[in-house]
Symmetry: C2
Subunit: 370 residues, 2 copies
């Protein structure tokens, strides 16, 4: 059921990811022109992620008509598997952004924002040419859950925003101001829409996202995230010759010279990236190049980042890339940053970054309402 | 999640249709080789039925990937529309048979029986040649609702059984003993399975269903139904020259000479059939004959019956066939039989019988648990 007006007008806001969830939504990878070897490896890693999350909160995995039986047989029985058509499986970006409010009686309500979507950049610049199924994903999820829907004509992916749940939104200019998203909107208009839809009062703009994250044009969720109000994790490298270096320095400068919606200075925790990692010949050869999806070339720098984790109820589900040094360091930092959480390592997360993202990109939390 | 063993072993039984529902499930007609004129008329009547039921209880309509948007736009917003692949839209027969139990604490639980299905008779005798999507419908519904599932290898359609909720099941030999369903099972074995799965103690066997109901091989839900324990409605005709006459007489004789599970004699209320009605040239011409589905021939006697209604929470949703005399008489009898219910007439239900069934065949109640 559609609600007229903006979430803010109805008292809704987007909670932080660490606030309690009723469940997590995921898609199921399938397209052979993005996921190598007919998606067989990606499906195993998605299953690992879903299973790991299901130890902390209920999980629903949506799979296409052709894949439902396969997904059902690969996933454990405690995970719900629902049929849903999609063009690809990045539910952070195609799923709804859930928002909550508090009624006069004190009870919370849930609603979802159904943003517009153009495959991360439209027909010329996006990742694939047909996204007609993706644009229905958010609405179908809300329909299954009987949750109210705020449709919006603005192009926005969930991975391009992070909130602290207390009025602050973190995003990148590289993505949100990109002419391949909302070319007719000014920065002020975009800010205004974020405020009215996410229920925030302040937007912190990082200039750029992670180096190599061309698929998403620098989504914030591969670069920097809140861990609690006033504290962020930032993708970092010590290697001054790495093109990531100047992006991290630039972001650190912005973060160090701003305040959040409540006037707090931000504490910045550095989280060193792996690698650098590159797509191998074998990996690229496993992707069928059919002209429908962006080609996958051997030697491409992978947009690999440990910031791309998921905060479940009591668990941090974190990618591991087979880079022993930085994998271990990331786990150490995350354990220190989230002392009350269990940090769960997902080995083989390289398979997800080969497709263009990571654990945060393939998950979408549904807040619990009280 | 699957439960091992039979529903009876776990204390489950099938409640009567007049017991309270949490919702009603329906499919969405689409196949052009069964529904004339690309299913446009059928879709309008299904929408009418769904809308009528939604005035009494929540309704979920499942539509194929290709039809989801169309279904969503035709149905009112209070009806939930969920994507689901299917070969056709007879959810009475392909949906789960819901059963309930009562735990030690007095709380009720819900589960669903996932019968096997063979398109009403298999490759030679059934209604269409591919039913691979239909066999997944019950499981997908249970998955969406997170309801426990009792899988069963026996072929059975929900329209071939009626229960009084107090231990009695009503069915037909024409269907359940047909060699095109479970050729390797004896009548005793079938009885035994009905008892163990529906939680009943007594099966009343009518020899045959409605004349002309060849698609289903005489489903009980077109012939006779319980209206409360000890009382049934029987499809009837006064016309001795109608081939239905001897079927009704035969059934009346069985019903008059039996008792239910609790030793009660049955009261039989006669409900006169419409017509007889026949498929017109124009109606048959609107069905694309593609060799995949049973041909629809002009002049075919339609299996039209007023017994094929749905009992919603407080409403009787009843077909009307454009036969003024018998339409009115059916409404009169139903109002008298269900004095505490609102009787809602669905004009144009002829469109559903052209496809092979009626309102009861396209609906599936999900019991409310207390």
């Amino acid at each position: 059921m559609e609600i007229k007006g903006t979430p803010e007008q109805h008292g809704y806001w987007m909670p932080a990811e660490w606030e309690s969830h009723s469940q997590c939504w995921m898609g199921w990878p399938e397209r052979f022109d993005n996921w190598r070897d007919n998606a067989v490896h990606a499906q195993r890693v998605f299953s690992k992620v879903a299973t790991a999350i299901s130890n902390f909160e209920p999980v629903t995995v949506c799979a296409s008509p052709a894949q439902w039986t396969n997904a059902r047989s690969q996933l454990p029985p405690n995970i719900r598997v629902v049929e849903m058509s999609m063009n690809d499986s990045w539910f952070r970006d195609t799923g709804p952004t859930f928002v909550v409010n508090k009624s006069a009686s004190g009870a919370q309500n849930l609603a979802g924002i159904d943003w517009n979507f153009n495959s991360w950049g439209g027909i010329d610049d996006g990742c694939y040419k047909d996204w007609t199924l993706d644009v229905r994903v958010a609405r179908k999820i809300l329909e299954i859950e009987k949750v109210f829907r705020f449709p919006h004509s603005m192009i926005l992916e969930g991975g391009s925003i992070h909130v602290d749940g207390e009025g602050t939104c973190l995003t990148t200019e590289e993505c949100l101001l990109n002419k391949n998203r909302n070319p007719d909107m000014t920065k002020e208009q975009i800010e205004d829409n974020l405020k009215k839809y996410l229920g925030v009062r302040k937007i912190i703009w990082l200039p750029r996202g992670l180096f190599g994250d061309d698929d998403t044009n620098g989504h914030i969720d591969n670069m920097c995230c809140f861990v609690k109000p006033g504290v962020v994790l930032l993708s970092w490298t010590n290697d001054k010759s790495d093109l990531q270096y100047e992006r991290s320095i630039e972001a650190l400068s912005v973060l160090s010279n701003t305040t959040d919606a409540n006037g707090r200075k931000l504490e910045v925790i550095k989280l060193h990236i792996p690698g650098p990692l590159y797509m191998t010949d074998e990996e690229a050869a496993g992707v069928i190049q059919d002209g429908e999806a962006k080609p996958r070339e051997p030697g491409t720098r992978l947009a690999a980042s440990y910031v791309n984790f998921y905060i479940a109820n009591g668990g941090i589900i974190t990618p591991q890339f087979g880079d022993e040094k930085w994998d271990n360091e990331a786990v150490r930092v995350l354990k220190e940053t989230f002392p009350d959480y269990e940090v769960v390592k997902i080995e083989g997360a390289r398979e997800i970054v080969l497709g263009g993202g990571n654990i945060h990109c393939i998950t979408q939390q549904q807040p619990a309402i009280k």
